[in-house]
């Protein structure tokens, strides 16, 4: 086994947001949960969908669709929670669907490649790079950046 270089994990927990296929290093993921009841936080950043009670710990849920500037989830579709650890805190990423844990090396992708420059800026902002796989392109998520949403509310107002 080769020593992982910076930003290159051996295994990724994968998930979908809209039609994007993301992976986040397994080491950063604490757990994956079905949809959880949430308490909205008025006046917070739009991407903050609410607070979840995770066995007594209060976890902020950041909606990746909002964070990435993607259209809202279809009516009635409940997001899943990918709970990640970021800078000492536990944060939930709201995603559309959960995929498998994969090792890109098994599928011929040995290295992390830079994200294509024509990707939307919002997406590039939270992506470390890509791992091209035979039938998909895995976007490697930078969890720290993904959960880094400004505390100061937008002028457009937070969620109601």
């Amino acid at each position: 086994m080769t020593a992982p270089t910076l930003g290159v994990a051996e295994q990724y927990c994968t998930f979908w947001v809209d039609d994007l296929y993301f992976g986040v290093a397994v080491a950063e993921v604490q757990e994956v949960l079905r949809h959880q009841p949430m308490t909205p936080v008025p006046r917070a950043n739009e991407a903050v969908r609410g607070l979840i009670n995770l066995r007594g710990q209060i976890v902020t849920a950041v909606d990746l669709r909002v964070r990435l500037g993607l259209p809202p989830r279809p009516e009635g579709a409940l997001p899943m929670n990918v709970i990640v650890r970021s800078r000492g805190e536990v944060v939930s990423l709201l995603v559309d669907d959960i995929g498998d844990v994969i090792d890109p090396r098994d599928q011929g992708s040995l290295e992390l490649e830079p994200a294509p420059s024509n990707m939307p800026a919002d997406v590039q902002d939270v992506v470390l790079g890509v791992r091209p796989l035979p039938d998909a392109i895995l976007l490697v998520l930078d969890a720290d950046r993904a959960v880094d949403v400004s505390a100061v509310p937008d002028t457009s107002g937070g969620n109601p």
Binding site: T39, A44, N45, L51, I58, A151
Partner: protein
């Protein structure tokens, strides 16, 4: 004596730990006689014990460790080589030291005649005399130290002549009082100091507190569920769970308690240095070292308290010459006092300095634009003194590096209020100043009022809560109006700015025919928060929220409710700031004659079967009802347990010459009256109304406890002289 006892206890714990290490080191040293590292470690340990015992005047212990130290230093410096004889002597010294420590623990001194120091000391001295070699003849070095049968001749002469009775009256003694050391073991196990305490990682404690918080929440959930159940066994089990969880919570919270002495201990040095720097002569007295509070609270008040002490030295206590001129002793007095009161910790900082001159404060406040001249004119002395807590206020004519940067008192207050505490100042010109800081015992679990808005629940810390007001129908139109565009409520002659919680949360407020107002307070700002629902008050576990929300000043954190859902905790100062309440705060603004004709707000009550009486409303702190069986007796007085304290009760009817009819029913109505920081409960039949009337006092009906009577709401009403009532009943208020 308290201080000494504490130091001795610490010394014992530390020494016991050191001695265990010493045993291991010595044994290891025999195997590795050359180890410089081990020798140094042993030397340090003995040296420490010697130093402290000298400081605490344990002469025998000091002399013994002194010879031991000398021997060790020779070994360490390579003058002597380690031999079995030296090892033996050292081990015996350690044993004797331990025996002496046990004696100290029992009796507070090292004069235990059961411990024989002389032979060990002699053996070591002999070794030293012979250059580290064992003496040729049979020396006392082979004698066995026997702690149970003392050989009187061997005891040091000083001690033999004065078998000291135990002088120390500390708390560290466990079990039976100072047992005779020579007595055979009586089978009762006594735990020594070292065995009775365990050092625990703070992180582990924090973890425990968190887990207990979880348990409390889970218990709340279970209790909620079992309420609707009929299974007796389940109900019984959940009640037991309730009890155990509460006790566990209490015990765990106790483990995190630390005495304020930790902060106190730094004060003498600070005061000394400051006195030196400022050219003051100060006599510092500290009381209540043992007053305990949660370590997080202690951490949070450390700086504010230090600042207050600095302030007293800088602005309070005058220079010695000035004091002499004022006819006071040259040396100023600074008293720090800490105590528990009704579930809170109170810390008082009292100086006998020049006091705070309200006129000067007022003048400076106007000059610095802290307050407008017209506003000042309406303030009473207490409010004027309160101005020192306003941002941008500093009275030092010259900015010193001690205090006087103008960031002092407001920061002190902000920091103390952040942890749910309060600060107030009482001062008398020329006599001195007392600053009283009240702080909660713990931060982790606080009482809060839960309100509802937009289908979600929000918690408001009890510390910010003043009262709940509900206004309906006609009153709503009459009492709520727009003042310079902002809604205000006329409440007992004051204008209260109103903030709609719904609007503050980014929604729209519903117009209804009733309004529920939670009156909240932070700093010296009071405002009304209009909410759609009021749930209940409960103990909540404060949990931090993620950094994504840190910039939102309106939330202080979050908590988990009984049903497992998250609720946000509102930060009252933050809300006030966000809603710009401060800007329109018409603290005492009188408009359209709210107070015309000296109207007085009165609480109209019924006593003695239908007789009407009235109390000035500002004398009423709260209204309470207690079940009759909760009234207990203490001495000759009736009392009730209230808010972690004892509330003395006074029956109003007999106190004003009427027949007592209060408390015939299940519930007893009580008006809580606060005098300075004490409270008295006035037992009445029931509350009739709160009115605002122009009182025309008539001498008719004047008697003890009654100032006279007046027509209130078209009926003749006795006006109660509360002071007289309280005084007459001899309640120690």
């Amino acid at each position: 004596m308290d201080d000494d006892a504490e130091i001795i206890a610490e010394f014992l714990v530390e020494s016991h730990e050191n001695l265990d290490q010493l045993d291991r080191d010595l044994v290891e040293l025999e195997q590795h006689p050359g180890s410089r590292e081990l020798l140094s470690s042993i030397f340090r340990t003995i040296h420490t014990i010697k130093g402290t015992s000298g400081f605490l005047a344990f002469g025998r212990l000091e002399r013994l460790t002194h010879v031991g130290e000398t021997l060790l230093s020779k070994l360490r410096d390579g003058e002597y080589a380690m031999t079995p004889d030296i090892a033996e002597a050292l081990l015996r010294m350690v044993d004797t030291v331990r025996a002496l420590l046990e004696g100290i623990e029992r009796s507070g001194n090292d004069k235990d005649p059961g411990v024989d120091v002389a032979p060990v000391q002699a053996a070591i001295e002999l070794l030293l005399k012979n250059g580290g070699q064992p003496p040729a003849v049979e020396a006392p070095a082979t004698e066995v130290v026997d702690t149970s049968t003392p050989s009187p001749d061997a005891t040091e002469p000083v001690d033999a002549s004065t078998p000291q009775p135990p002088a120390w009256d500390g708390v560290e003694r466990r079990g039976v009082q100072a047992p005779d050391p020579a007595e055979p073991w009586d089978g009762v196990e006594r735990r020594s100091v070292a065995e009775a305490t365990v050092r625990v990682d703070v992180e582990l404690l924090d973890n425990l507190v968190q887990l207990v918080g979880e348990l409390v929440l889970t218990r709340n959930q279970i209790l909620q569920r079992t309420d609707t159940h009929e299974d007796v066994e389940l109900i019984r089990a959940s009640q037991r769970l309730d009890l155990v969880a509460s006790e566990l919570q209490e015990s765990v919270m106790k483990t995190r308690m630390q005495p304020i002495g930790q902060v106190w201990s730094k004060m003498p040095r600070i005061v000394r240095d400051l006195a030196h720097q400022l050219g003051r002569e100060v006599d510092l007295t500290m009381e209540g070292h043992e007053t305990e509070m949660d370590r997080s609270v202690l951490e949070a008040v450390k700086d504010p308290l230090t600042h207050l002490v600095r302030n007293s030295m800088d602005h309070g206590i005058e220079r010695p010459e000035d004091r002499e001129r004022a006819g006071k002793p040259r040396t100023g007095r600074l008293l720090l006092r800490a105590y528990h009161e009704s579930g809170q910790v109170v810390v008082e900082i009292t100086d006998d300095g020049k006091g705070i001159d309200p006129e000067r404060i007022g003048a400076i406040a106007v000059q610095r634009g802290v307050v407008a001249r017209e506003q000042l004119a309406r303030m009473d002395t207490k409010e004027i003194i309160g101005l020192i807590f306003r941002p941008g206020f500093s009275t030092a004519t010259e900015v010193s590096n001690i205090s006087g940067r103008g960031v002092g008192m407001d920061v002190v207050r902000t920091n103390i209020e952040r942890i749910g505490g309060s600060v107030d100042v009482v001062s008398e010109v020329g006599k001195g100043t007392t600053t009283r800081v009240r702080i909660p015992l713990t931060l982790a679990i606080i009482p809060a009022l839960v309100v509802g808005e937009g289908g979600e629940r929000y918690a408001i810390p009890q510390a910010n809560l003043v009262e709940l007001v509900r206004i309906e129908g006609e009153e709503l139109r009459r009492q709520v109006e727009r003042f310079a565009g902002a809604p205000v409520l006329r409440l007992r002659g004051r204008l209260l700015p109103l903030v709609s919680l719904a609007e503050a949360l980014g929604g729209t407020a519903e117009e209804g025919d009733a309004l529920t107002v939670v009156v909240v307070q932070s700093d010296d700002l009071t405002f009304g928060l209009c909410v759609s629902e009021v749930h209940d008050t409960q103990e909540i576990v404060v949990k931090p929220i993620g950094r994504q929300l840190k910039g939102l000043a309106m939330y202080a954190g979050a908590t988990i409710m009984g049903d497992g859902r998250v609720a946000l905790i509102l930060d009252v100062p933050g809300m006030a700031q966000m809603q710009g309440v401060g800007a329109i705060a018409p603290e005492n603004v009188e408009t359209r004659g709210v107070l015309e004709g000296d109207r007085t707000a009165l609480l109209v009550i019924e006593v003695a079967d239908g007789r009407r009486a009235a109390l000035p409303l500002d004398a009423v702190a709260r209204l309470e009802e207690f079940p009759r069986e909760r009234i207990e007796r203490s001495g000759g007085a009736e009392v009730v347990q209230y808010r972690d304290g004892i509330l003395p009760l006074v029956r109003l009817a007999p106190a004003i010459g009427l027949t007592d009819t209060a408390g015939r029913g299940e519930q007893v109505a009580v008006v809580v009256h606060e005098i300075e920081d004490r409270a008295v409960g006035i037992v009445i039949d029931r509350v009739l109304d709160v009115v605002e009337e122009t009182v025309v006092l008539s001498e008719v009906g004047r008697r003890t406890g009654v100032t006279g009577s007046a027509v209130v709401q078209d009926r003749v009403t006795d006006l109660v002289d509360l002071e007289a009532v309280v005084a007459r009943m001899g309640v120690v208020a």
